[in-house]
């Protein structure tokens, strides 16, 4: 079955440092979505990427979809304590959306 791998599993940064999480799929994806889950909360949608090589920005967050539509990344510039949480990528093949294991981000002030 489809597998979505995400690295790193965990990252601890100082406030103001940058952060990147990477997502890799075993199969070509129709689209990829990113979600954020705060401690004790539920996943909240951030963005969807559909086109090969697509890059989207949301303030300090930059999302990329690889040319082969099998990998993606999320980069946060100048992290803030409000960025704390677990970031999940979710790759879609046809109608099935498979989540990665997530990258937990801790930000120290």
């Amino acid at each position: 079955g489809q597998q979505v791998m995400q690295i790193p599993q965990y990252q601890h940064v100082q406030e103001g440092e940058d952060f990147t999480t990477y997502c890799n799929s075993s199969t070509t994806l129709s689209n990829i979505q990113w979600y954020k889950q705060r401690p004790g909360g539920h996943p909240v949608f951030l963005i969807q990427l559909v086109k090969s090589g697509e890059v989207k920005k949301q303030k300090r967050l930059t999302f990329q979809f690889g040319e082969a539509k099998k990998n993606s990344s999320l980069h946060i510039t100048a992290t803030q304590t409000t960025d704390v949480g677990t970031y999940f990528c979710a790759g879609r093949v046809l109608s099935t959306l498979t989540f990665g294991k997530g990258t937990m981000l801790l930000v120290s002030p």
């Binding site: 079955g1 129709s30 979600y35 559909v50 959306l97 997530g102």
Partner: protein, 114 residues
């Protein structure tokens, strides 16, 4: 707009007992998902409905788990009998369509099996 409603929020049972979780999706959302999230892991799809039909239940342990969405609106997920490894948060989500668009998650139902 009301979000995805789930109940109960918390449930503690003994192994071999049964439990049921309920989900009411956002009005008008045709697709409903049940995900299992074990602590420290990503959500794992158990079953996906499109209206009242099953789209994907390949990872549903059918010997103990069952789910239904009889009228194409709300849904129930049942576990019988429960095992220790079923301890997890059961997340219900809904989306407008099956092949694209964001998922809206409920707060989840946290199950502890003793």
């Amino acid at each position: 707009e009301a979000g995805v409603a789930q109940s109960p929020r918390y449930k503690i049972i003994e192994k071999r007992q049964s439990v049921a979780f309920w989900c009411n999706p956002i009005s008008g959302h045709a697709t409903l998902y049940w995900y299992q999230q074990i602590l420290g892991q990503g959500p794992k799809l158990l079953i996906q409905f499109q209206n009242n039909g099953v789209v994907d239940d390949s990872q549903l342990p059918k010997d103990r788990f069952s789910a239904e969405r009889l009228k194409g609106v709300d849904s129930t997920l049942k576990i019988q009998p429960a095992k220790l490894e079923d301890s997890a948060v059961y997340l219900c989500a809904s989306s407008l369509g099956a092949n694209t668009g964001e998922l809206f998650f409920g707060e989840g139902s946290r199950l502890t099996v003793l």
